[in-house]
Point group: C2
Chain length 232, copies 2
DNA sequence: TCAAAAGTGTTTCGGGTACACCCATGT
DNA sequence: ACATGGGTGTACCCGAAACACTTTTGA
């Protein structure tokens, strides 16, 4: 059962939420970190997060803390795993429910709010500093989950701007999956899913302009309801 | 971060672990439930579980509670998801970290130990009673996870006895995946993985005797290390 | 000899993969 | 004109799926 009769006689660990926020840009995949303003690990980089309040659900707490510390708008948030090794926090028993989240524009400069966060900053996944607590492990679990999930659910679009080129989408998948993909096969496969809508806009840069596409959420929802599985 | 400087000023929810234990037998897939001996939900069926102690990890707590309440030997245990809706427990804020587990022999009669459990009993998944708290939802999440995971990891063997026939294995997959499988294709596929060892034993019953096989854990570990993916 | 479950091959089809050249633009 | 990235079609191969009869035992 969930609780005995004398619930209040039991030792009560503190419960926090921590969040691994991924962003994607020219430099590849990035993770948002905040610099701790207080002991322990003062000055160290850590995941944004904080205590769960008495009257809020876990997802709710994750969103609130993230909003307070960074002001970011999330396009995806999912519970990841709970970490509760007895000594993971030097101050005492702290169990954390970890989440991972995706943002569409890594551009938006993160704001600061609570006293806990001295600064917030994006780090490329290949250049992460050493992290407080067991946060390095949490990031690693999140990265693995993202890699596993991106092939079965259309969450890759939550890392791209509203309009994107097929080349951008392909590069995203190459970075997340850590392998190269064939251009022609990738495009054929993606378009055959019929969940992208072609816009009439072009993106200009060096070389031939590229067509911009949009993820058609409604078409995806319809297809999914009919038993369609994403898979890429 | 995981905790602020004034950790002990924060409200502290109680933290429990709850466990969905699956067994497989002639009647199909079953779940182990215990009957609550105390309020709230006294007399109701619920998942085995209990409070996390100050000095133990989450997995450890799940194993301990399960051992205390049922005496079962688990062949597989994995963290499932954490449930923390503010009102999920009428006594106050209780966050539970749910696990799911598999046992090889559904035969072993579960023992009882703690005062919380008045009785323990296997229920077929198709005939579950209504459950205390949000445990019905937890079971549902566990069932979905099992269905999803059994195709990519060789956890099906954790639901079968040490030695089993290919027909038993097939029926297990049919039950878990909720669809029929072709006998010849299934056998070919399973044997082609080269992770089963043929024993020299036969299982007699009505009809032609069936060859018994064993899951070759070492062969699987070797293959996995070389990048082999299970998939069935 | 009958009932019941075990065991066994071949063909077809679709999707995955490999692969090279032309196109549209900016400089 | 050249450099840069965008865009396109075909052939092959392998694994998935469909499908029916023989074998071995107990009753």
């Amino acid at each position: 059962m969930s609780a005995g009769q004398h619930a209040y006689e039991w030792p009560r660990p503190a419960v926090t939420v921590d969040c691994v926020v991924f962003g994607f840009g020219a430099a590849g995949l990035s993770v948002l970190l905040i610099q701790r303003g207080e002991a322990p690990f003062e000055g160290s980089w850590a995941l944004p997060g904080g205590f769960v309040r008495e009257d809020e659900g876990l997802d709710e707490a994750a969103r609130r803390e993230l909003g307070e510390e960074t002001g970011l708008t999330l396009s995806f948030l999912e519970q990841l795993y709970s970490f509760g090794a007895p000594q993971r926090d030097p101050r005492g028993r702290v169990i954390t429910v970890a989440f991972y989240a995706l943002v569409q524009e890594l551009a938006q400069p993160p704001l600061l709010a609570t006293g806990d966060a001295a600064e917030a900053q994006w780090f490329q996944e290949t250049e992460l500093p050493s992290l407080a607590f067991d946060h390095a492990e949490i990031v690693s679990v999140a990265r693995t989950r993202l890699k596993g999930k991106v092939r079965w659910q259309p969450i890759g679009f939550d890392l791209l701007p509203e309009h994107f080129t097929l080349s951008e989408l392909q590069r995203l998948y190459e970075v997340v999956l850590e392998r190269e993909l064939d251009k022609r096969n990738f495009r054929r496969k993606v378009l055959s899913l019929e969940i992208l809508e072609e816009t009439d806009e072009l993106q200009r840069g060096t070389g031939r302009p590229a067509r911009l596409y949009r993820f058609d959420k409604a078409a995806y929802a319809r297809a999914e309801a009919e038993g369609f599985v994403f898979e890429l």
